[in-house]
Symmetry: C2
Subunit: 151 residues, 2 copies
């Protein structure tokens, strides 16, 4: 975290606010390595294993796309108290393939003040992970507690 | 995949069916290593960094719990055509801490035949990731396409 980086509190957020991440180039080695550790299914492990499956050719585990998305969000949405998801929804409209450059566009879609904690709100963000053709690979909607700037 | 392992098709599933995974012991090194790669926030990176945060002490990234859960599901729910999530909901009622032994209890909660594809249904599974005290750390509900045994 660079000292010059702005730290955001609840007062700094508004509905419709957008954040954009850097891009991450995913390759076959990353895909196979993540799959070997966390999602060892044939279509994530090798080109040959993916033939004749739903995916047809090598595709990243959805959890890999999700984990890379989190990395890009941490780098581009600088909430002072961190990004801590309470509950979320996730879908993968298209597979993530080797050679794609991923990036995340995050939007604040709702801010609901807490009834019990006056210094907090539940902020809903909708995060789309897209490739260079602007195809949406993952839609990730999350509710997070966000706090006001300390007095 | 052992050759003796049963491969499950749609005909082999029923609502209420349960699957249980082996246990996975998570430690501080795994937590820090995953966080450094995918979720580099202070409360996931070090004991010191977690002090004074929402978590209070070192906690695993939720994406780490999710990825380990996927590993355990792949090993314990042997669907012949693989575990491929179309859409899902996820929540983390309690943090995953170093030293916990995680395991997954998966339940088939709905089977809805496809209207367009007679050989397929959308199967909903509810997967709870628990620790040794039977505390629920993650609830993961997912819709997956599941196919009939080939004729």
């Amino acid at each position: 975290m660079s000292p010059a980086r702005k730290q955001l509190y609840l007062e700094d957020l508004h509905v419709g606010q957008l954040f954009s991440s850097r891009a991450h180039l995913i390759d076959a080695e990353q895909i196979k390595s993540f799959a070997a550790e966390f999602d060892p299914q044939p279509f994530h492990l090798s080109e040959e294993g993916a033939e004749g499956t739903l995916f047809g050719s090598l595709a990243a585990s959805g959890w890999h796309t999700a984990a890379l998305t989190m990395r890009m969000l941490v780098e581009s949405v600088p909430l002072a108290d961190g990004l801590v998801g309470a509950e979320l929804q996730l879908s993968w409209p298209k597979p993530t393939r080797p050679g794609m450059r991923l990036r995340v566009v995050a939007e604040v879609v709702d801010i609901t003040p807490s009834r019990s904690k006056p210094n907090m709100a539940i902020v809903t963000m909708r995060n789309e992970t897209r490739n260079d053709e602007d195809e949406v690979l993952q839609i990730f909607t999350v509710k997070m507690p966000v706090f006001k700037r300390p007095a």
